[in-house]
Amino acid sequence: MQNLQRCFGHFAPTLQFLALSEPKGSCREILYLVGLFPNLQDLKLCYPRPREEQEATFNAALVPLSIPPLRGRLTLTCFTRRKLVEDMITFFGGLRFRCMDLFRVNCVRLLLDACAKTLERLRLYPADLYGEYFI
């Protein structure tokens, strides 16, 4: 985690958009990375295909260093990490995204409920087999 701070810490004052392609860390590690940027507005997490959620072991003492505003756009593709969303809600005191772009996401209901008061724009896909029913 010290490495994350050393590598990306200098972006902390300015970074507003973070896109992670197939992040492999635990939920807490990803949350820690997100929390490194106190001005973050937009977040994008993309996986190549949906898969069984497998939570890597995590350090329970690892908590984000800040609560970014995250009032912009959330883009999730083939995303099955419900625990990460639950942790974001817990540690960031809820979610406040104005725009969401969701494709093959297994926690749509949770996200829509969390952003019920703030969501202005939703992009969805009729071809999303998982959009209607996610078993």
Partner: protein, 145 residues
């Protein structure tokens, strides 16, 4: 199993967006899906439904991995397929409108170098449909952006 895209609790939704390709890919499932989502959005607020058209939907292929980026027209067969997809989508929009009123927005999400051409293609598609009377049901003019 339960319905996930239920927006009945949402207090601020202004825009529902999807892609032209996704509607075509979903085929017969598309109207049912979109109508079900629309039916959950309270009808007391204005709503924009934005359909995003990408390069291929407006008859262009783009190779982004070449330098410079290479753009060329789709083949005659591909254009004919696109025409068919446009017609099918207009039927979907009509069905959607039966559930709830909205403003239809056609959005060209394309490379800058073909933006003018894309707008022209979208304008042509909308105008052709209007001449057939296929947009008479709309309460307000569709928007092309």
């Amino acid at each position: 199993m339960r319905w996930h895209f239920n927006l009945s609790q949402n207090k601020s939704l202004q825009t529902l967006e999807t892609t032209a390709q996704s509607i075509a890919a979903a085929g017969e499932a598309a109207p049912g899906f979109l109508k079900a989502v629309l039916s959950t959005i309270p009808s007391n607020r204005p709503l924009d439904v934005v359909i995003t058209y990408q390069n291929f939907d407006v008859d262009h292929h783009v190779l982004t991995w070449t330098k410079p980026v290479r753009v060329y027209d789709t083949s005659k067969e591909e254009r004919a397929k696109n025409v068919q997809h446009h017609q099918e989508r207009f039927k979907v929009f009509n069905e959607m409108y039966g559930v709830r009123e909205f403003r239809l927005v056609f959005c060209a999400d394309v490379l800058d170098c073909i933006a003018k051409c894309a707008m022209r293609v979208l304008g042509g598609i909308v105008e052709a449909e209007r001449k057939k009377g296929g947009l008479d049901y709309l309460a307000c003019e569709p928007l092309i952006i």
